[in-house]
Symmetry: C2
Subunit: 331 residues, 2 copies
């Protein structure tokens, strides 16, 4: 493995000159620069990024901690983050927390230990432990979910309003018993969406009933179980507000098994637009979230804080979600 000393020896200069020639910081005699370039090529020298980062006390790597890369919503965020980061010369380390605070903390510790330039996370809970990062002054930006345990930039969607609007839409459509399949307690978006659901019922003068609420993981099986339970009750709901597209896959499967068509029999509105939403019949009404843009923005905010003393006040950006009405929410 060629090192900078090997290059220096071969080029007949000092390591300092090699470094200067390669980084173009200070001016170097063109003749020497040429010799260095030749030696680099001849040896196939690749600078050791670890040594460089150690000396410079900075890395060009961001960590992205999300709950699950298999969830298309987070995938779109990841894509936005990666696009922006890579354009700025940064790499992205991907971490799946699986909504598990222990796993999340482990990744936070790794990010701190490896001196990542910054961290973008969708925290499992508002109280997730990020002290290892705070101790190092590593900038943090949260995306999709709030973090109360630290003061940092946040890129959110107004889930509560979006959920309220979705339920209003169902109410306007004539649905009488609207149920809510919500995410696990403690996850800020899950709680917010449930609050929005309540808001809409309240506005319409309807009673809120815990009977019509199921809380489960943001996964297909969660949606399946929840929908099955709800629809096999003695007095089943005639509409569902589902908190993610992954859950909707399960919910729609349960409906199919039970012979309930969407729209006419059971109205359904799902969070997250999915590519397949228009392929099913009737097409799925969704609350589309600007996931890719969220990722991009989060990355930009984070990159703004990377580097020396960039400590402006923290910001919270709340983007609007868009209700896209299709056939599944009309009779």
């Amino acid at each position: 493995m060629a090192t900078i000393s090997d290059v220096a020896a071969l080029a007949g200069v000092s390591t300092a000159t090699v470094s200067r020639a390669l980084n173009g910081k200070s001016t170097v005699d063109p003749v020497l620069a040429e010799r260095v370039a030749g030696a680099v090529a001849q040896l196939g020298y690749t600078p050791n990024g670890l040594a460089r980062s150690l000396r410079r006390r900075e890395t060009a790597v961001l960590a992205l901690i999300i709950s699950d890369v298999e969830n298309p919503f987070f995938t779109a965020i990841a894509r936005g983050v990666e696009d922006t980061a890579q354009a700025a010369g940064f790499s992205v380390m991907l971490c799946n927390s699986d909504e598990n605070t222990a796993k999340e903390l482990r990744y936070v510790e790794v990010a701190a230990r490896e001196r990542r330039a910054g961290v973008i996370m969708s925290p499992t809970t508002g109280e997730s432990d990020v002290r290892p990062l705070l101790a190092h002054g590593t900038p943090i930006v949260t995306v999709d979910r709030r973090l109360d345990s630290a003061d940092c930039d946040a890129v959110l969607v107004d889930s509560r309003v979006a959920a309220r609007d979705a339920v209003r839409h169902l109410i306007d459509g004539g649905y009488e018993r609207i149920a809510c399949i919500a995410g696990p307690p403690g996850i800020t978006t899950a709680d917010d969406r449930l609050d929005g659901y309540r808001d809409a019922l309240h506005e319409a003068g309807r009673e809120y009933s815990a009977d019509l609420v199921r809380r489960c993981e943001f996964r297909e099986t969660g949606g399946y179980e929840a929908a099955k339970q709800l629809l096999t009750k003695a007095d089943p709901p005639d509409a569902l507000l589902v908190s993610s597209s992954t859950m909707s896959v399960g919910a729609l499967q349960a409906m199919a098994e039970l012979g309930r068509g969407s729209g006419r029999d059971v109205g359904i509105v799902s969070f997250d637009d999915a590519p397949w939403a228009t392929l099913i019949s009737p097409a799925l009404t969704v609350v589309a979230q600007p996931a890719h843009a969220m990722g991009q923005l989060a990355a930009r905010l984070l990159l703004d804080r990377v580097g020396p003393g960039r400590t402006h006040a923290t910001t919270t950006t709340t983007l609007a979600a868009q209700l896209i009405v299709r056939g599944s929410s009309t009779r």
Copy 2:
């Protein structure tokens, strides 16, 4: 930022002892170990992973270079890789090459520069440049696609046979003019699937016609355009073999726009099982690939090569895909 020297000073011992106490390599007097632990806690010390990696000449980070995290097939692979890596104490750096050899090479260089422990990649072409990795002896495992430019472990699916079987199935179902929507030339799976398509036609004594083949990106828009072109021909096909679920979304959209139902009007078999495959009507016949298992296996193979002189012969594992017949391929 507390360093090991700070800890040593506070505990009244040398840095060597701190290191030994923390890493449990050599035995350390319990009294001193206690003092070290106290100092660590008091200072909130986190070891600098860069310094450690530099000295140890090894890192606990794998790079995963795939074309697109938004493609569920690759996402599933990523998940398999991450699960296995994280269980072994490794982190995963995610890179999107976008089927772009320049971008791919950039990531290969980063992986080499940052001395990643190993690289798992789905190369854009069989000739992708991985010399920077070879120069460092960084182990490589390819997943889903072959790499001819280096001798490394590979985890593949027998795409050719799978495609052949899928087309056979369509032929048996009575379809007469079967078209193929294939991926870009140069991508090994794309070429293999096309070969399999040819094999089946040949076996059945049918003529191969380039007219019935479209090559496009593994994306929704690619599938859309290709299907639209094929189905608006003077003599349109009555069945489609589509090379990925992302393309199928587009193809199904095109079919819907043109008023062609799947199954009866146009038979369709798609690579990659998708969660929504059973939600559409008729349900989509697919060639399911064991993506998660592929990721796990690739990670295990890679981890087997990480570390000193683990240089056993390279292996190629070819997994079978499974044809899951549903309604979209029967009249």
